[in-house]
């Protein structure tokens, strides 16, 4: 029983330190694994890239003519649209978190993870972190496409980068919502089907693509306050210029609130998952 005694001693001694470092360390290990899969199965990345590309082209050329006149004077539709596309990309991308986790649950891999001495949050945070890394890539690409279509930064590069960080923070928060969806439904097809009815109203009943002022009154109330609009608005201010502080704080408050609710819920589901 000496081996046992040794194990007990080390776990007790290291407990305080590892309580903080272990979730990060294990989460990064799982994120590493998820990113390898992304590199090795490039279609995952290709499809999460094509979709926002289609959106940006469609909106630019289909709705551009209609929406343009409704915009504040001096604002071109491309400059209005690209921040919205960033946010839409991050939101739709977060669906991958649900699909990825649900896929893992179907293989025996989740069972193995649950029997390992790793942080209970690591499987989820490893997934959301990998999805965050994927978003960095997709947003960079969308920026390049935006520039090709005539998008320009009006408020300086630092503010623009701040806007990008806000988009990434929002994508990360949305990933935690979909981590919960993925754990709850447990299979990838259902996860995908369950995601759309949640995502579509959030993305379309928002200021991501069109100004809220064109919507009926009852919808405006929802559209003005929901997180997609708040984030799009904050990013837009950071890109186009203007007093940014309130909008940014409101967007960050949404992100913090979402993570505070959904991260513990996701970990709770992971602990209980059968």
């Amino acid at each position: 029983m000496t081996a046992t005694a040794a194990v007990t001693a080390t776990t007790t001694a290291g407990r305080l330190g590892t309580r903080i470092t272990a979730p990060v360390r294990d989460g990064l290990a799982v994120a590493w694994r998820n990113l390898i899969a992304l590199r090795r199965v490039p279609r995952l990345l290709v499809f999460s890239t094509i979709q926002p590309l289609v959106f940006v082209l469609m909106f630019r050329y289909v709705f551009g003519g209609v929406v343009g006149p409704a915009l504040p004077p001096g604002v071109g539709y491309v400059d209005f649209l690209i921040p919205g596309i960033f946010v839409q990309t991050a939101v739709f991308g977060s669906m991958n978190t649900a699909i990825g986790l649900a896929t893992d649950m179907q293989t025996g891999l989740m069972e193995r993870f649950r029997s390992l001495p790793m942080a209970r949050s690591a499987v989820l945070s490893g997934r959301t972190t990998a999805d965050l890394a994927r978003n960095v890539f997709v947003v960079a690409l969308m920026t390049a496409v935006g520039f090709a279509l005539g998008f320009r930064i009006h408020a300086g590069v630092p503010a623009f980068l701040g806007g990008v960080l806000l988009v990434l923070a929002f994508g990360f928060a949305m990933s935690w919502i979909f981590a919960v969806v993925g754990m709850a439904v447990g299979d990838p097809e259902t996860a995908q089907a369950a995601a759309f009815p949640v995502l579509a109203p959030l993305v379309f009943a928002s200021s991501a693509f069109v100004p809220v002022s064109t919507m009926p009154g009852w919808l405006q109330t929802f559209a003005e306050h929901q997180p997609v609009s708040k984030t799009a608005e904050a990013v837009r201010v950071l890109v186009l210029g203007g007093p940014a502080t309130t909008a940014v704080w409101e967007a960050l408050a949404w992100d913090a609130g979402i993570v505070a609710v959904f991260a513990p819920l996701g970990v709770w589901l992971y602990r209980r998952a059968v």
Partner: protein, 331 residues
């Protein structure tokens, strides 16, 4: 409890109205191989999942190397390795990356991770395919990698859930050798299996599980002797001849053979003597069987001896009684 590496007392698990485990008790001595033997759905996997902290029991308790699997789950996870029925490895990672991932997640010291992965790939004959994504592996390769993954942290207690199901005979024997080798080095192994032969080859002690309960706790040899090592199956061709032969053999042997349609089944400790006897007396009554099969007793036979029924309603292939309209069929 002395040197028990695993100790299980009154362990039960219910899923809603279904009772998967109905109070089981057993002790596994340290450094031994212990078998949980039972048909599909007997509760073997549920027991393994509780012991590996994946599931919480509904009642009773289980202790691994002195640590309660519920209250000290985190400590237990540092002492165990698990390889399941479904190879739990990432198909998109290479074999080597899978092992390194487990190394990181079991907190192996950083410099030890790469050498340990290489060492296990060698030991499991996976060095050649170690840098290929696992999705290109055959089932046997995956299974080997899965077991290698369980061994990354060199756990003192290893759980193997039906480790050889679906393996070809060669891989199966190789795996048996490997398990024996681990135990020689001091590892305690608890394995589940549906094969009496496997339990017999490996385990020093076996519990037979049926519908969540233990119905026998013995050495594999003793289990086999309980009903006889050899099973003889006689296919009589048609019902009339089967009844005649059954009557004759009951008279000869003092007890009736088991009958399943046109098939008669006998078990004995002395198979060759019984076979000679039986064929001789059948021939003298002009009841020569159409088919004769002689085999070692299986889990199914043990089940019959212990419970009075087989693990599932099987018929034997040779008399082709496969039609849904078999006599005695349920409405």
């Amino acid at each position: 409890m002395g040197q028990a590496a695993i100790s299980v007392v009154g362990l039960s698990k219910r899923f809603g109205a279904v009772t998967a485990l109905d109070g089981i008790d057993f002790d596994v001595p340290a450094g031994s191989i212990f078998g949980l033997l039972g048909p599909n759905g007997a509760g073997k996997t549920t027991a393994i999942r509780i012991l590996t902290t994946i599931l919480r029991p509904s009642g009773g308790r289980a202790v691994v190397l002195g640590h309660d699997v519920v209250r000290e789950a985190a400590t237990v996870r540092r002492l165990i390795g698990l390889a399941g029925q479904y190879a739990a490895v990432d198909p998109n990672l290479t074999g080597r990356e899978n092992l390194r991932l487990i190394g990181r997640l079991t907190q192996l010291p950083r410099p030890r991770i790469r050498p340990r992965a290489a060492e296990l790939l060698d030991r499991f004959d996976l060095a050649d395919v170690g840098d290929r994504p696992v999705r290109t592996y055959s089932g046997g390769l995956r299974r080997r990698l899965d077991i290698a993954a369980a061994l990354v942290p060199d756990p003192p207690v290893l759980f193997l859930d039906e480790p050889t199901t679906g393996l070809d005979p060669h891989s199966r024997t190789a795996l048996w050798d490997l398990i024996r080798e681990l135990v020689r080095d001091g590892t305690t192994v608890l394995l589940t299996t549906q094969y009496l032969e496997e339990a017999d080859r490996l385990a020093g002690r076996v519990v037979v599980v049926n519908e969540g309960r233990i119905i026998a706790d013995d050495t594999p040899a003793a289990l086999k002797t309980r009903l006889g090592n050899t099973v003889i199956e006689l296919g009589m061709g048609d019902e009339t001849r089967a009844s005649q032969a059954a009557g004759l053999l009951t008279e000869r042997l003092g007890e009736p053979p088991e009958r399943e349609g046109v098939l008669l089944r006998l078990a004995s400790r002395d198979g060759s003597r019984l076979l000679l006897d039986v064929l001789h007396s059948l021939e003298s009554s002009r009841l020569v069987p159409h088919t004769v099969t002689v085999r070692e007793s299986s889990l199914d036979d043990v089940f019959l001896a212990l419970t009075g029924h087989r693990t599932q309603p099987v018929r034997s292939a040779q008399d082709g009684a496969d039609s849904p309209a078999t006599p005695g069929g349920t409405p």
